[in-house]
């Protein structure tokens, strides 16, 4: 139900923000009511984060006015925003990992004395936790807490600081379904007690289910503000991407020989961390083998073991045409045609301070395709990068020597894929390849994986997104605590797979 109320909690009027030539926000007017949960939907780069960064004082808008409770305010920085009762829970948490929750919260509020007010603060936090039904260990280092618990620390941080407006940036990106449900219960509770909540998300489902209003941003413009339930999914997607768009499963038509055979892989890790236990599976040419599972159940370990980046304790990996490659180093495996799209592209797949051209050409240069050891062919490097940028539709490259760190998530991932597919791969290992990408970019990634498969590659897709697994996989394995606990041929039943993931 939407209250009719002209005295909005926050009015952001005609906000414009540009970065160089790029218009991130174009005349956006956004109103937030008292005690409502307002979802902000849009693709990556649509302007959601920019708008919220303006509200929380991180960006100064070029034009436009912000008023809170009917009074025009000027927000000059995050501390101003905090003072005005605006609190933001960032997607990437801002916590000191070695401090406990209490100290992390103490850091953000201006106390006169840390020691004398510590007990006071603890009481305040416990009271707040009691009020909203949080359960949290305040005394162990935050780094040891689960992701969901760390998020609770972040939420407590803004609540204790006295926020009456809370911005949650992609809060469920790192949570399991169960944890997400718990989070939304708390969000609803906060809203019912008068707090206004902005939910930045690109997940349609949660926006529809848990918000009072949905505003859709596209290309820096606010397209529409609607009431959930008034529009069906198709119409909503059309608002978001500007066209109707739905991917359909395309199963492989012709499997070839067994390409890669993995037998009895074991990886022991210290401190009872999840390793790998007796992993067995094989992938044929022209097959996508999807591994479903809740994050942190051994996916990262499996992918790095296959690339030779992590040493395994026992087991063997056989590759058609090369035999046993268990002892091969990473460079040797790459020479055999293995390519890798790691989950954390910023950390492992790209070097942010190197140029786009260097990031693209590194594979070819290491292969020896661009010049000899005596000299790298600079022109060849530039030209091949230009070709890749066109072929893979990479936006946001103004100069070839611009740092790769400046690319947005989707375009960074396109660059990674362009590089990994620059030689014809025989085995593709892709870990959460569309994580954090918008609908269009994700579809692009999916098309590339299907194209590689149809060209005869064996594709291993590890993803925490079950929809992605269901959409692409020809065979589905379920990984749970480092074991493959079930295997299905597509099309398989979603419910049964879901059950196998959590059992």
């Amino acid at each position: 139900m939407v209250k009719i109320n002209q005295n909005y909690k926050i009015k952001m009027e005609k906000i414009t923000k540009s970065f160089g030539d790029f218009l991130a926000l174009d005349d956006v007017t956004f109103n937030l009511d008292h005690g409502e949960v307002h979802a902000l939907l849009g693709e990556n780069g649509a302007g959601k984060s920019s708008l919220m960064n303006v509200l929380s004082g991180i960006y100064a808008p070029d034009h436009g006015a912000i008023s809170i409770d009917g009074k025009v305010v000027k927000i000059n920085g995050p501390s101003d925003a905090r003072f005005l009762g605006i609190g933001m829970v960032h997607q990437h948490f801002r916590l000191v990992k070695s401090f406990n929750a209490l100290d992390n919260i103490a850091l953000t509020i201006n106390q006169t004395s840390y020691y004398s007010e510590k007990d006071n603060l603890r009481h305040k936090i416990l009271k707040k936790m009691d009020e909203i039904g949080f359960d949290l260990d305040l005394d162990s280092p935050v780094g040891l807490l689960s992701v969901a618990e760390q998020q609770r620390v972040e939420i407590l941080k803004v609540l204790i600081a006295g926020a009456s407006i809370i911005i949650l940036d992609e809060p469920t990106a790192v949570l399991t379904d169960e944890e997400s449900k718990g989070l939304f219960k708390i969000i609803r509770f906060l809203a019912s007690s008068g707090t206004s909540v902005v939910l930045v998300t690109h997940k349609l489902k949660e926006a529809k289910e848990f918000s009072d209003k949905i505003s859709v941003l596209r290309n820096g413009k606010l397209v529409d503000t609607i009431i959930p339930g008034k529009l069906d999914d198709e119409a909503l997607i059309k608002l978001i991407v500007g066209e109707v768009f739905a991917e359909k499963p395309q199963l492989s038509k012709n499997f070839g020989e067994e390409k890669i055979v993995i037998s009895d892989l074991n990886l022991h890790r210290s401190n009872h961390a999840i390793g790998l236990t007796d992993i067995n599976f094989k992938i044929r040419e022209g097959e996508i083998y999807g591994i479903a599972g809740v994050g942190g159940n051994g996916q990262a370990e499996l992918s790095t073991v296959l690339m030779g980046l992590t040493k395994l304790n026992s087991g063997s990996i056989k590759l058609a045409g090369y035999g046993d490659i268990t002892k091969f180093r990473t460079d040797q495996r790459r020479k055999c045609g293995l390519v890798f799209i790691p989950a954390d592209r910023q950390k492992y797949a790209l070097a942010g301070e190197l140029s786009v051209a260097d990031n693209y050409a590194v594979a070819a240069i290491l292969r020896g395709d661009l010049g000899s050891w005596m000299g790298v062919k600079k022109l060849g490097k530039q030209l091949s990068t230009v070709e890749a940028i066109e072929e893979f539709d990479i936006y946001g490259v103004q100069r070839l020597n611009q740092n790769a760190a400046l690319l947005s998530g989707g375009n960074a991932q396109k660059l990674v894929i362009a590089r990994e597919f620059s030689s014809k791969p025989s085995v593709v290992i892709a870990h959460s390849p569309s994580r954090g990408l918008d609908i269009k970019a994700a579809a692009f990634v999916h098309r590339q994986l299907l194209a590689a498969r149809d060209a005869g590659a064996a594709v291993l897709l590890l993803s925490e997104d079950l929809d992605e697994i269901m959409l692409l996989s020809d065979t589905i394995g379920v990984i749970n605590r480092g074991r493959i606990t079930a295997e299905f041929a597509s099309p398989a039943d979603r419910q049964i797979i879901g059950k196998a993931m959590v059992n």
Partner: protein
Amino acid sequence: MSSTSNINKRKGVKLEVRDPMSFTNKFIVLILSIFTGLFISFVILILSGVSGSALWKEFVVYIITSEKNLSSVLIQASPFVVAGLAAAVAFRARFWNIGIEGQMIFGTIAATYIAINDVGPEPTRLLLMFIAAGFGGVFWILLPAFLKIKLDVNEIISTLLMNYIAFNFLLHLLYGSWRDPSTGFPNSEQYDVSEILPLLGWQSLNFSSVIAVFLVIIIFWLFMSSRFGFVLNVLHASSNMARYMGIRVSLVILIVTIVSGFLSGICGFLVSSGIESRMTQSFFIGFGFSGILISFLARDNPIGILVVSLLFATLVIGGQSLQVFYQIPFAMVQLMQAIIVMCVAASEFFIRYRLIFSL
């Protein structure tokens, strides 16, 4: 909210993160900060009693107008250049080689061994000394390199401590079997003519300058166009990505340490055979750490290292005159180096942030 209006009136200085700076702008900031450092140093020198006109004469006029002083600067600059290159090569792979001085000592010990035992025929003596010096330096970096690669021992500590071992071993030789038999002083006997780098025919300028320039060209090629240089760039920017792309990080570090150790050894050889004509107790003093500073100021760029080395050499030669004519302690030269480095380090701040004054 009455306090809302207070916020808008807040005064003072604010920080804002800048867009990444262009190469040209970074270069301008670097030059400006070096000049700021020089300016502060000169103010200190003036406060300690040297007149401004004397500074101008000692550091600029006499260096440019006197062929003798100019050649002294060039001779002094050669080992600086090579020490800077040794540091730069290691730093490109993020191997923090603090042990350049220790490697210089072992380079010189190896060269001196060839010299005092007259190994090989005379015409090849210098070449042999050159090669021996390089491998002497390599010998002294291998242990820290292996400790780093195999056991992940912090190379800053291990290379630093290796300096002290090298120094004491040097003293052991100079007070023991290698003491100069003709004078009894604790340095090696003087090198023969065939063991001293030949003069080039202009003032006292000798072959060490040619070696330094040659090495600059080699390292410039290595960094700027060779495939290995590209690998170093990748490793420097992200060791994670390097590993994921199949670059053998341990092997790269091993190669880099070998090159760095070799250059350090050569640097020792340039001092003993190019300046001192013998191995002394203190031929290496200051070069190792100056090399690190030079490489830092030049951002690991070989051409930059050449330029900064000339600046440092000018400071040393000018400082020597100040010492003689104005009784300014030589430590003042090190102070000047330190001030310049601090100014450049501080300039990083202005490359990342912009200050906004709202009054």
